[in-house]
């Protein structure tokens, strides 16, 4: 008598060992429940997890097939810069450069869903690790969505951390890009002429209402993002 985890791992092993190849049909839940001496519900759970993990595809009546691996889905965790810096054992320093309420440029206005002539909060800040600038945070915050932000100085707490604690971010969109540093970025991040920067743009919103639009700029020479997917580690 086997648990759903054992069954799931056995099936996974048969797939990664190519005993069952991409496109192959797996035995039905019925058949497997007989093989493993358990009920169909147990096999169902095992196969559902394999399906969640993207190893197989299931369709009623058609059965369960090994997926043809095509792309490389990966989960990345966009770091919170303070944690990132402290994890490296460096001293973290935060500096607010600018804080003002102003009319955002047209594209930002559209993304935040603001009225014509509606002001938003503009914040520019720098994050240092061991005294070296690691991230420039340039952002617009929708004050209709987060009115409390108007009373916050952001002198001590970075806007990212503050917002995470004060507003739910159900919807997030990220764009990653390699850019050439602008003159201002070059100066603030203490970069050489023409050095590349790794840019993360983030847009968050809740039920159609934009919360924030950020541009996180990192020196290309001091930043990288990584992912790791191990089939052996998909499940705990």
């Amino acid at each position: 008598m086997r648990s759903y985890k054992e069954i799931r791992d056995i099936l996974q092993e048969r797939i990664t060992s190519q005993q069952w190849q991409p496109g192959d049909l797996l035995p039905s839940e019925q058949a497997l429940s007989e093989e493993f001496g358990c009920t169909r519900a147990t096999v169902n759970r095992a196969m559902r997890e394999l399906s969640d993990a993207g190893l197989v595809e299931r369709r009623r009546k058609a059965g369960t097939r090994v997926v043809q691996p095509s792309s490389h889905p990966a989960t990345i965790t966009i770091p919170i810069i303070r944690q990132e810096i402290e994890n490296k054992g460096q001293t973290y320093k935060y500096l607010l450069l600018e804080r003002l309420e102003a009319l955002p440029p047209e594209d930002v206005r559209a993304q935040l869903g603001l009225q014509q002539n509606e002001k938003a909060l503009f914040l520019k800040s720098l994050h240092y690790g061991d005294g070296i600038p690691q991230q420039l945070d340039v952002r617009w915050v929708n004050l209709s969505a987060v009115p409390e932000a108007a009373d916050e100085s952001f002198a001590d707490t970075g806007p990212n951390e503050w917002l995470l604690q004060h507003v739910p971010h159900p919807n997030i969109e990220h764009v990653f890009r390699a850019d050439k540093a602008t003159t201002e970025e070059q100066r603030l991040l203490q970069l050489q002429e023409g050095e590349p920067v790794f840019v993360i743009e983030r847009r968050t919103w809740i039920s159609g209402q934009g919360i924030t639009y950020v541009r996180l700029v990192h020196p290309g020479s001091r930043f990288q993002m990584a992912t790791r997917t191990s089939a052996e580690l998909i499940f705990n």
Copy 2:
């Protein structure tokens, strides 16, 4: 009588609407099963999915709590360049630049787990969209892990696509970086002096044995990667 999906969505709504805030304890499965008029198994499934999605944390006896959002986990799909180009409606062209068996540099040798003096397959190729170079693919392939690769010319099929179809890749590691283009990359990708490039490094292996080590180089001006996480769309 409600389905587990309805229950899951109701609970999710209570979380994102902040009716239940981060750190709050949810009612027990028992209590919820009474509220919704179903069995505990149904509530269990609903809450398990919320937990899988990272909205709540569950611990035996301690109960289920709303997670304190801290980082920004996101799932990205590293595109297969041909699909990416064809999706944009551009004409795809593939060009093999180099193919030879040689001794890899020390760091690659270590990553692939090769013997001293063991040769590996070196491939350099370019991918075009509408005649403009979009990706430079420089890679080492472990011939012990993929002996069939020795007989493949790679004249027509890109190494990425070929490998995906011929070898399982249970373990994948990616690194994303913004770099300054080398002289060769500048020439091959038809870049301006000092233009930034978006680099993806990928390492794949199976049961300790390295399969391939790739460096995918993209013109910063013609490439970006994006993610989108919508709480409303976590479940289908």
